[in-house]
């Protein structure tokens, strides 16, 4: 089917988004076309706003609006405890449990040679800089329980332990091959409580 060029452009942009196929793109585009101008305006404004207002927190590499992210800026957090996660969405999942009072470090992925991702492509160097000579005494590795997440945890343990740190892994109360993102809050809370030493 041939679309008018503005619609075709919108569809093209939508289909670039993760998880959006041609059918979903079409559904979203039609929804926007049928909606008031105000709806489209709000959507466009929020897209631009998020890009200009949000940046990576220079300490933990989570998303931040102010100079530091909310967690790093909170003086009440336990600075001896550091939780390493893959992505910013994992911080959200763990924060939701209310079980963790320490700080975070977002790696930005996991080691995966097939995808060309080694420690250099992740924020591993930054992690090592952060923990050496700092107040951190325990690092909780909360990467996903995938093959790559587990191996990344082992890699980090090998790097961190010689620095005299206690390195723990969240207990695998998570299903095999499970994503942290999909774990329910109770499971995740329990997994954090029952972490084991690596």
């Amino acid at each position: 089917m041939l679309y008018a060029p503005p619609i075709a452009r919108l569809l093209e942009e939508l289909e670039r988004l993760p998880g959006i196929g041609p059918k979903s793109a079409q559904r979203i585009a039609y929804y926007i076309l049928r909606s008031d101008e105000e709806v489209a305006g709000r959507l466009a404004a929020s897209l631009l706003e998020v890009k200009s207002a949000i940046h990576f927190c220079p300490r933990c590499f989570d998303f931040a609006e102010a100079e530091l992210c909310e967690v790093c800026a909170d003086p009440e957090r336990d600075t001896t405890l550091l939780c390493v996660v893959e992505e910013p969405r994992d911080v959200v999942a763990i924060e939701r449990t209310g079980e963790f009072r320490g700080l975070y470090h977002v790696l930005g992925g996991v080691i995966s040679p097939m995808d060309g991702i080694g420690p250099e492509q992740l924020r591993v160097r930054e992690l090592l800089d952060r923990v050496s000579g700092g107040s951190v005494t325990e690092v909780v590795v909360a990467t996903n329980t995938t093959v790559e997440g587990e191996t990344t945890a082992l890699y980090l343990a090998r790097m961190l332990k010689p620095l005299g740190l206690k390195v723990t892994r969240i207990a695998s109360g998570l299903p095999v091959g499970g994503d942290l993102e999909y774990a329910d809050e109770v499971t995740l809370g329990r997994a954090l409580e029952a972490r084991r030493e690596l």
Binding site: P113, M114, T151, R158
Partner: protein, 372 residues
């Protein structure tokens, strides 16, 4: 009859079948037709819908009839009187959706085990010949169908090997390889434990069936672990090892072979390089067995599978027999026939009804297939 009964099967737009459906005999259903009639495709549809796997390798989108958008397979069964219907929908993009009694299922674990089955196809007849992969595959395929932990471990392990091989080919430093070695040893040890547990179950019924079908010959089953200095170990010997010992064994072997592995760009030890060693009267089957002995091994192995599936799932599995009668001599055919009639529900394909005795055909439902 106790246990499981498959009542009917219907396919639409599946491979060469536009619309096909049939009720199944509680005992034996014989599908008879010419070579291109699509008999094997029907067995494949039953297997794919009940297990997500097939006795031959396939690509999902190829299961959809050429030029059509989606294929469907539906299997109505009853287990101890309770009816249930599995529906499988496959699109020409290879997307598939399973539902049971109308409600969608998200994981294969919710499907596998509803209709336990054992397939027997001509390719199985050479399991004791050729590469080690041929002997591991039937065992792993059975494990996949019996336990979702087994299949999850196999998927994880295969991924680990691919990741590690990528690193080896890049000539990665020890520091980068070591965490993968540890993971491979750990997941590899779990997979080995699962495999050995299954082999411990398979061995006794396979030995008994082989003795019966061969008229008194002894079948030997051993496990050649790639990480245990190249000597075949008794199945019982490995079964007595702890997970920790196996993990250490694999770890040591990986460390020792590192340079050779870098040269070849591949992981040389671990369960993907292990072998199931079969012997007859003390001689390795691979090198010494006659054509007839190879077929007897295959037949005995399948009979053992039926016993093990029965034991694990609590029901006698459905048997899918694809054109194997023509490959067996009259003695083995008679063994298989009496076994089939002993109480399993079976679907059997053939091009020629003359392979069957009058007694067998009398008890069976014969379904003729036209030209697709």
């Amino acid at each position: 009859m106790e246990g499981l009964r498959v009542v009917s099967v219907s396919l639409s737009r599946f491979r060469n079948h536009n619309e096909w459906s049939s009720e199944l005999d509680p005992g034996l259903t014989v599908l008879v037709g010419k070579n291109a009639a699509g008999k094997t495709n029907i067995l494949e549809a039953v297997m794919v819908a009940s297990t997500g796997t097939s006795f031959r390798s396939f690509v999902w989108e190829d299961l959809v009839m050429r030029g059509e958008q989606e294929a469907r397979v539906s299997i109505v069964s009853s287990r101890s009187g309770a009816p249930s219907e599995i529906d499988l929908r496959i699109t020409d993009q290879g997307y598939r959706e399973y539902s049971v009694n109308g409600s969608k299922k998200r994981t294969m674990a919710e499907i596998v085990g509803r209709i336990p089955l054992v397939s027997f196809v001509p390719e199985d007849l050479s399991m004791s010949k050729g590469a080690s992969e041929k002997r591991r595959t039937p065992l792993d395929a059975l494990g996949d169908r019996l336990s979702s932990a087994y299949s999850a471990l196999r998927v994880e392990y295969a991924r680990l090997v691919r990741q590690r091989n990528t690193l080896l080919r890049q000539g990665a430093a020890d520091r980068d390889l070591e965490p993968w070695d540890d993971m491979l040893a750990s997941v590899g040890a779990s997979l080995t434990m699962h495999r050995i547990r299954l082999l411990v179950r398979m061995k006794p019924p396979a030995v008994i069936a082989y003795e019966r079908v061969s008229g008194g010959e002894a079948l030997g089953v051993e496990y050649l672990a790639s990480w245990a200095d190249g000597s075949a170990l008794g199945v019982e010997e490995i079964a007595a090892m702890s997970r920790d010992e196996i993990e250490k064994g694999i770890g040591r072997s990986l460390k020792g072979a590192r340079e050779r592995e870098r040269d070849r760009g591949m992981t040389l030890s671990g369960p993907h390089r292990d072998d199931v060693v079969l012997s007859i009267q003390g001689h390795p089957a691979r090198a010494y067995a006659s054509q007839g002995q190879h077929r007897t091994v295959a037949l005995a192995w399948k009979m053992a599978e039926v016993d093990v599936v029965h034991e694990v799932t609590g029901v006698r599995p459905l048997l899918l027999l694809d054109d194997v009668m023509s490959e067996l001599d009259s003695r083995r055919r008679a063994e298989l026939s009496s076994y089939v009639l002993e109480g399993s529900q079976s679907i059997l394909t053939t091009t020629n009804l003359s392979y069957f005795t009058g007694e067998m055909l009398g008890a069976a439902t014969v379904v003729e297939l036209g030209h697709g």
